[in-house]
């Protein structure tokens, strides 16, 4: 049994805590502010790698696919240990196109994803309308992926936190900045001696570069989202300009921008206005409605688009799990399992070499 201290109480940090504590370790989570307060709580909760990854059958795609596959059982476990229910909807998705010329790219994607046993069907405009009557008549075709799903992210994160507490994880919030001293994590209040430190600092990872002695090119990208009280959609709806997803609470969530705005988490007129205008072109019923809720979160984007997951070669007391960008919710179970396997020195089930945290330039 190892003493594990996790820095960062977002969906990644909490998932790692949940997995490690279940494997018999003694876990502490330290969070600068409130758990799930950043990208995690702001997420629309889509579990949709087949829609989002268009070009590359690479290791990142495999990582996403594996996480999607283990999600049904994982979310059951979170519900069981937390005794909190949250929406998990195996709705499938429609990737809608507005130009016939986009058909070729749907066919290309379908062809390579088929090799990974991804189920999908190209639907004609007529078939789209049968499945999703509320969509614009400008949609000319769609790729239907029945295996994709979505989750209510704030509910999921709250349940994860409760599950961790129920299992005996020591969660400390509002600690402010923390530092390292070998295997110990130092906060203003206390020194936490550990056998393993896990850094899951999301968009704030760059602040650890000096301390860890390696480049961590993780940038904050603001995602603005808004929500309408609108009639439901049966599927997640993707377009080249954004997505719409209906939640069980009666809202339709429209996302998301990708803004370069440093650490600013305010919504902007331009950012939300753009979503509003586009969403009406997707779902005409929104034409006369205004969003009742607008919010933003900072997503940790990386220099090469891959997350940073694994042990630092020169500082093996630290494991990184950050840089999940738009896929933190989806990748939470697989990241938790990879980190726990690293700690338990169990062979990994999938290739993680591309995600080495020290793959970037030396300082």
């Amino acid at each position: 049994m190892a003493r594990i201290t996790i820095i960062g109480g977002g969906v990644i940090g909490l998932s790692i805590a949940f997995e490690c504590q279940r494997r018999g370790h003694n876990v502490t989570v330290v969070e600068a502010q409130q758990c799930g307060g950043q990208a995690s709580g702001a997420a629309a909760g889509m579990l949709a790698p087949y829609s989002e990854i268009e070009e590359d059958p690479d290791d990142f795609f495999r990582l996403c696919q594996k996480s999607l596959q283990i999600f049904p059982e994982w979310q059951e476990e979170v519900k069981r240990h937390s005794d909190i229910d949250f929406e998990y909807n195996e709705s499938g998705s429609l990737y809608c196109i507005y130009h016939e010329a986009d058909l070729l790219s749907l066919e290309t994607k379908q062809a390579w994803q088929r090799k990974f046993n991804v189920e999908s069907t190209i639907l004609s405009a007529k078939e789209v309308r049968v499945k999703e009557p509320g969509l614009s008549r400008d949609v000319v075709a769609a790729l239907w992926c029945p295996e994709e799903s979505h989750i209510y992210a704030p509910g999921y994160v709250a349940a994860l936190l409760q599950a961790c507490r129920n299992l005996g994880v020591h969660v400390i919030e509002n600690v402010g900045d923390a530092t390292l001293d070998g295997y110990a994590v130092i906060t203003k209040q206390e020194r936490i001696d550990s056998d393993q430190v896990v850094l899951a600092a999301g968009a704030w990872s760059m602040y650890w570069e000096k301390e860890l002695g390696c480049t961590l090119p993780v940038y904050p990208i603001r995602g603005q989202i808004c929500a309408y009280e609108a009639p439901p959609l049966n599927h997640i709806v993707f377009t080249s300009q954004g997505y719409l997803v209906a939640k069980a609470n009666g809202s339709v969530v429209v996302g998301a921008s990708e803004d370069i705005a440093d650490f600013d988490t305010n919504v902007t007129e331009h950012g939300i206005g753009r979503l509003e205008k586009w969403s009406k072109k997707v779902m005409p019923v929104l034409e006369k409605m205004d969003p009742f809720h607008k919010w933003a979160g900072l997503r940790p984007a990386t220099q090469d688009g891959f997350p940073l997951i694994g042990k630092l070669i020169k500082k093996p007391e630290v494991i990184l799990a950050t840089g999940h960008y738009r896929n933190g919710i989806l990748l939470s179970p697989i990241t938790a399992k990879i980190v726990a396997d690293e700690i338990d020195q169990v062979p990994q089930q999938i290739a993680i070499g591309q995600f080495r945290p020290d793959r970037f330039q030396a300082i």
């Binding site: 070009e55 986009d102 090469d304 688009g305």
Partner: protein, 253 residues
């Protein structure tokens, strides 16, 4: 030799055309574009929000004015390419158009007949036409005669990074054509870019090689230098290849 590339009367200081797809995020995209010093940006019209291009998911991040070269990728016939081109022009995006017509979802090899047809019609309509084509010297010549303002032969299939598979053909094309030749598609690294320029290309178009590099910003800088090095080397005139050694210090007799 002038240092400027001129296409349809427009002088360009950079010989790099850059695609805007596939970057890991807008921050890296903007930095890479900035460092590359490219002045021409290309993107798929089918992906763009034509009713409000400045609100488009990708284009909204582009900061300073660029020469846009929208492309017709996804078109499978001349008719479709022409329709897409007209949409782009009507939206005010640009009257430059990169013709891209393919019927092959696996190789994305450009269709020669449809590409030629679309080039002729759009050039006659007053578009500045830059067709993406296979590296066939006879076809490239025909595209020039059909009114192309520059011709863009591929080094290898899009996104493969296989570099220039037929340098002989590329060199024949750059020798024969009087309009600029931009080597488009398949270039994977700075070495490939230098080779294209040494073969006499007037410029190169890249996307994946930069966007999917581990460090896209650094690769953008490498490519910028590679274009400069290749162009200088081409202009300087390389030595001929010989079978046997020649001492670089003459032997005194």
């Amino acid at each position: 030799m002038t240092n400027k590339l001129t296409i349809a009367g427009k002088q360009l200081s950079s010989r790099l055309f850059l695609g805007t797809g596939r970057y890991p995020n807008p921050y890296v995209q903007n930095k890479a574009i900035e460092v590359s010093e490219a002045e021409v940006l290309t993107f798929a019209i089918r992906r763009v929000n034509l009713s409000a291009p400045d609100e488009d998911a990708i284009l909204q991040h582009i900061e300073k004015p660029f020469q846009y070269l929208p492309n017709t990728s996804g078109a499978t016939s001349a008719e479709e390419a022409i329709r897409i081109a007209r949409l782009a022009k009507a939206s005010g995006l640009s009257d430059w158009i990169k013709i891209e017509v393919s019927q092959d979802e696996k190789m994305l090899i450009p269709d020669p007949i449809e590409t030629l047809k679309a080039t002729e019609i759009l050039a006659n309509e007053g578009f500045i036409v830059l067709p993406y084509t296979s590296d066939d010297p006879a076809l490239c010549y025909r595209l020039q005669e059909a009114g192309a303002s520059a011709v863009m032969p591929g080094g290898s299939p899009i996104g493969t990074g296989l570099g220039i598979l037929n340098p002989y053909n590329i060199e024949r094309i750059t020798e024969k054509l009087t309009v600029p030749v931009i080597v488009d598609a398949g270039l994977g690294s700075a070495a490939d870019v230098t080779q294209a320029m040494e073969l006499g290309a007037d410029g190169v178009l890249l996307n994946t090689a930069i966007a999917k590099a581990r460090n896209p910003v650094m690769m953008a800088e490498a490519v910028k230098h590679a274009i400069h090095a290749g162009r200088l080397s081409y202009s300087a005139g390389r030595i001929s290849k010989k079978k046997y050694a020649t001492a670089s210090s003459p032997i005194q007799s």
